[in-house]
């Protein structure tokens, strides 16, 4: 099928053979945006989290056909080195990443949380940020999430 959607602010059309192909592979292998990671393929780890119409979605379990006509944002579209998203800015300030592989998923999940809840409590963070980080950078991430909330309100 021909799939038309908006990715990181740009309208795009791609030809996909199987409309059920996970959006993750369309983003990674066709659009060549590698920031959205493959971790488990079962929507369990959250490494593939991106935004569809502003909502956090695990792209490994999201059929590409459902993205038709929608706005998809990946880590590459969240912010840039020149103009980082508050979440990215906070991640830099707290030097959160270690291996870094899961971090785009966490940042996308956090950005979605802050969009709904600009000042989350620790409990809100515990409930909403349920991705897996094997380097276990959770303690810094929590600080960075609170910092991102501050930056977002400035």
């Amino acid at each position: 099928m021909k799939l038309s959607f908006n990715i990181n602010g740009q309208p795009q059309s791609v030809e996909i053979e199987d409309p059920n192909t996970p959006l993750l592979w369309v983003v990674r292998d066709i659009m060549n945006l590698k920031g959205t990671k493959f971790g488990c393929g079962k929507a369990a780890c959250g490494a593939c989290t991106l935004h569809v119409d502003g909502e956090a979605v695990r792209a490994c379990s999201y059929p590409a056909k459902f993205a038709e006509g929608k706005k998809v944002v990946t880590i590459e579209g969240l912010g840039t080195r020149e103009n980082p998203h508050p979440v990215q800015q906070a991640w830099i300030e707290h030097v959160v990443p270690q291996c870094g592989y899961c971090q785009p998923g966490f940042m996308m999940a956090t950005a979605a949380l802050l969009a709904e809840n600009p000042n989350p409590t620790d409990e809100d963070i515990d409930n909403n940020i349920v991705n897996v980080c094997r380097c276990a950078t959770y303690t810094r991430m929590r600080k960075a999430i609170h910092r991102a909330a501050e930056l977002g309100q400035e």
Binding site: E17, D18, T21, P22, W25, D29, N32, L33, K34, G35, T36, K37, F38, G39, C40, G41, K42, A44, C45, A47, T74, I75, E76, G79, T80, R81, P84, Q88, W91, I92, V95, V96, P97, Q98, C99, G100, Y101, C102, Q103, P104, M107, D122, I125, D126, N127, I129, V130, N131, V132, C133, R134, C135, A136, T137, Y138, T139, R140, M141, R142
Partner: protein, 748 residues
């Protein structure tokens, strides 16, 4: 013997693993002075191929051999496990005046690239922003011969890397003096620029067109306290790449015209491939080729989804000789079974029947690495040459394995390491590189192949389960007169590609299972540690900190129980059994600091109890105090106070980061993680069922206190994983009166 030296039959030095060194840290200072006269052999290349205007390399392995043979028991510096015949550390200056450090160690999150850049910047006199660190590819013949692991990267390169940077600085100054027509003495260097006599030149300008370099004697290294970067919390050099989602990992690697592959891996332990029905898959959309070998069957397709769909249509007939059960594994792995080896022996053995002897049993389960980036590789094999990009901790071994498996010359196999989406020991085993290479060979095109998550969980090289028996006896003063740790473990180092068989034969001990197994309390008159080693029917290997988490859990839980029995404060109890010199003093210090900073108390306050534990691993002592409460039998860790002595902290922020990661990963291992056998298969096969600590399970506060008890950097990435399990168990004991003896902890 504080150190263990491995020798092969030719008496040639292979490797040294530094163990708990009882001597004073100051001896290393003496050693550094002694070797001042050494002159390193450098390789100098100018403008070769893709290299920059000046590239120099050095053989960092030879000098440590000599050093070690002279002062083997005195050095605190673990040696560099590099090749002894090829230059294995090098960097270059590009025309843009950028320094490219080709790191023989890979970056897997531990922050090594940043630490190395700091060390180079301070001796080469360049700004850290001018340095680009890349993983060295094997095509240059300059990779680590063994591995990135054991928390040794910074510690082992501390001297050779700075010496090389300092030498390069002097070489540049020497040439600058000639070009500028001034004396070397009048020149100064800063931010990659040589200045003097009113003139300035960039390093790149100096190096341009120079073909014959004078290599000076190795200059004196600058005092650590004069460094601009070393010792400071410099932001990670890979921070931006990781925050903005740059394609830096093995999974992100691509080659032109690349195809995607999926391979069917066995589900049952010990299963082997018999045959496959591929008729349906062969005709499926996008399928380019079905590849069948004596060991496996795989499918190559245009896209990953197509490969995955076709893979599902293949039916494999497996030979499953036996369906292993949980109880069979448990039965195999018991103290008293397998190969016995005394790994520590001081004073007399306890008679278990003697009156007053207390004995307790402990256990830990099979653990999975569960790193988020699956294992895989992009391989291109064509015209007798292989190029493979992947996340690996063993560039050299991967190269050798691919060359052997494909019958290629080693020099024709180029292994390009990427950033690793987690290592934790999992990427010391890279057989999937061989699989990818064979797949590529079958189609003559680049192929990307990686494990599914289920395959990750079922084909892991697991942390082996362990069983421990602790025995101890208190004397009239309420202190331990005797303490014994008997521990059974599956393979960690034994049967690993990293450990040549001959080493194991000579040593007879699994030095991986031994991590943290020995008793660190020097004043206990009789103490010993006895290993029982068994090879299990599934692969077990290195998991961050190896035996440390389980061994410390057993020892420090038992120590805590003995303190309670003696009616003593657990901090005082420990201090009373430690000496005052060398590492004994360093252990003492971390215990004192952790106790003081946490305000340790035996009392339960507001439903929260504290737990105390300490350990020393690879020369880095660590003490931790946890604050724990329980809600509905669920253990909640609120705060961890951690005192850690890793000598010189090259990057204190990243040392803290490693402490935090170790603590949280240890919480995950101690409270949540467990693999089991079900119907002959290893389960679970996915996150969730394989429970791990998430945000809500990790403490909001980790208070870290770094102590510099040595004048060199010591291992960082694993030692802080030691105390956490025992500290939690000790807190739970105070909170509930119950002693947890099995991991993961379940309160019934």
């Amino acid at each position: 013997m504080p150190s263990i030296v491995f020798l092969n039959c030719k008496k040639k030095y292979i490797s040294t693993i530094q163990r708990f060194n009882k001597r004073s840290a100051s001896t290393s200072k003496k050693m550094n002075k002694n070797k001042k006269s050494s002159r390193r052999k450098f390789l100098v290349r100018g403008g070769l191929g893709t290299l920059g205007v000046l590239a120099i390399g050095t053989y960092v392995f030879r000098n440590p051999i000599r050093r070690k043979t002279l002062s083997i028991s005195e050095s605190l510096i673990p040696p560099y496990n590099g090749s002894g015949t090829e230059a294995n550390l090098w960097f270059e200056i590009t025309q843009e005046n950028q320094v490219v450090l080709h790191s023989s160690k890979v970056e897997m999150g531990q922050g090594t690239f940043t630490g190395l850049a700091q060390m180079v910047a301070d001796e080469l006199d360049v700004a850290i922003e001018q340095i680009k660190v890349v993983g060295a590819a094997s095509a240059t013949g300059i990779v680590d011969g063994l591995s990135t692991g054991g928390s040794l990267s910074i510690a082992s390169l501390w001297v050779p890397l700075r010496e090389m940077a300092a030498t390069m600085r002097e070489m540049v100054k020497g040439e600058a003096a000639k070009k500028m027509g001034v004396s070397v003495a009048s020149l100064s260097t800063k931010d990659g620029v040589v200045s003097g006599g009113g003139k300035t030149m960039t390093y790149a300008e100096v190096a341009t067109d120079v073909t014959d370099w004078d290599v000076p004697s190795t200059p004196d290294l600058r005092p650590v306290n004069t460094y601009k970067y070393v010792g400071k919390p410099v932001p990670r050099v890979d921070l931006a790449a990781k925050v903005f989602g740059d394609p830096i990992f093995g999974m992100d690697a691509e080659m032109p015209d690349m195809l995607h592959a999926a391979v069917i891996r066995p589900e049952h332990v010990g299963a082997t491939f018999k045959s496959a029905d591929t008729s349906k898959a062969a005709g499926m959309s996008g399928v380019v080729k079905i590849v069948e070998t004596p060991d496996w069957v795989g499918v190559i397709a245009k896209t990953f989804s197509q490969a995955l769909s076709a893979k599902r249509a293949i039916k494999v007939d497996w030979d499953i000789p036996k369906k292993w059960t949980e109880s069979e594994i448990k039965d195999m792995l018991q103290v008293g079974k397998g190969d016995r080896m005394i790994t520590q022996k001081v004073g007399d053995e306890l008679d278990p029947e003697e009156e007053g002897v207390v004995a307790m049993e402990f256990s830990s389960p099979i653990g999975a690495h569960a790193q988020i980036e699956p294992n895989g590789a992009v391989a291109h094999v064509v015209d007798g040459k292989a190029t493979i990009m992947l996340s690996t901790q063993v560039v050299g071994i991967t190269q050798k394995q691919v060359a052997t498996a494909l019958g290629l010359k080693k020099k024709n196999v180029n292994i390009i390491p990427t950033f690793l989406g987690g290592g934790f020991g999992r990427r010391l085993n890279t057989s999937h590189a061989v699989t990818a290479a064979k797949l590529s060979q079958a189609v003559g095109k680049p192929v990307k192949y990686f494990f599914t998550r289920k395959e990750e969980f079922q084909n892991d090289t697991f942390r082996p389960p362990t069983h421990h028996i602790m025995r101890g006896k208190l004397n009239a003063n309420g202190l331990l007169d005797s303490l014994e740790h008997h521990y059974a473990s599956g393979d960690v180092a034994i049967n690993s590609a990293l450990m040549p068989g001959v080493v194991n034969t000579i040593l007879g001990t699994d030095i991986g299972a031994m991590r943290g197994a020995n008793i660190m309390y020097g004043k206990i008159k009789n103490h010993r540690s006895v290993q029982w080693h068994t090879t299990l029917p599934f692969a077990t290997s290195w998991w961050r900190s190896l035996g440390l988490l389980a061994n410390t859990f057993a020892i420090e839980s038992f120590i805590d129980e003995m303190a309670l029995k003696a009616g003593k404060n657990p901090v005082d109890f420990r201090l009373a059994m430690l000496g005052t010199a060398g590492n004994q003093a360093r252990i003492r210090k971390v215990i004192e600091v952790a106790a003081a900073k946490s305000g340790y108390t035996d009392e339960v306050v507001d439903g929260k109890a504290m737990g105390f534990a300490a350990s020393i691993d690879t020369g880095s002592p660590c003490a931790q105090v946890v604050e724990v409460s329980m809600v509905d039998k669920e253990i909640k860790v609120h705060k961890v106070t951690c005192a850690f002595d890793c000598g010189v902290a090259v990057n204190p922020d990243q040392v803290r980061s490693q402490c935090e990661g170790s603590i949280n990963m240890g919480i995950s291992g101690a409270l949540h993680e467990k693999m089991t056998l079900k119907d002959g298969q290893l389960y679970p096969t996915i996150y969730g069922p394989y429970q791990m600590a998430l945000m809500r399970n990790t403490p909001k506060e980790i208070d870290i206190h770094l102590i510099q008890g040595a004048d060199v950097p010591l291992p960082v990435g694993e030692p802080p994983l030691g105390p956490i399990g025992a500290a939690i168990g000790n807190a739970v004991r105070r909170l509930t009166g119950k002693r947890v003896v099995d991991l993961p902890m379940r309160i019934v």
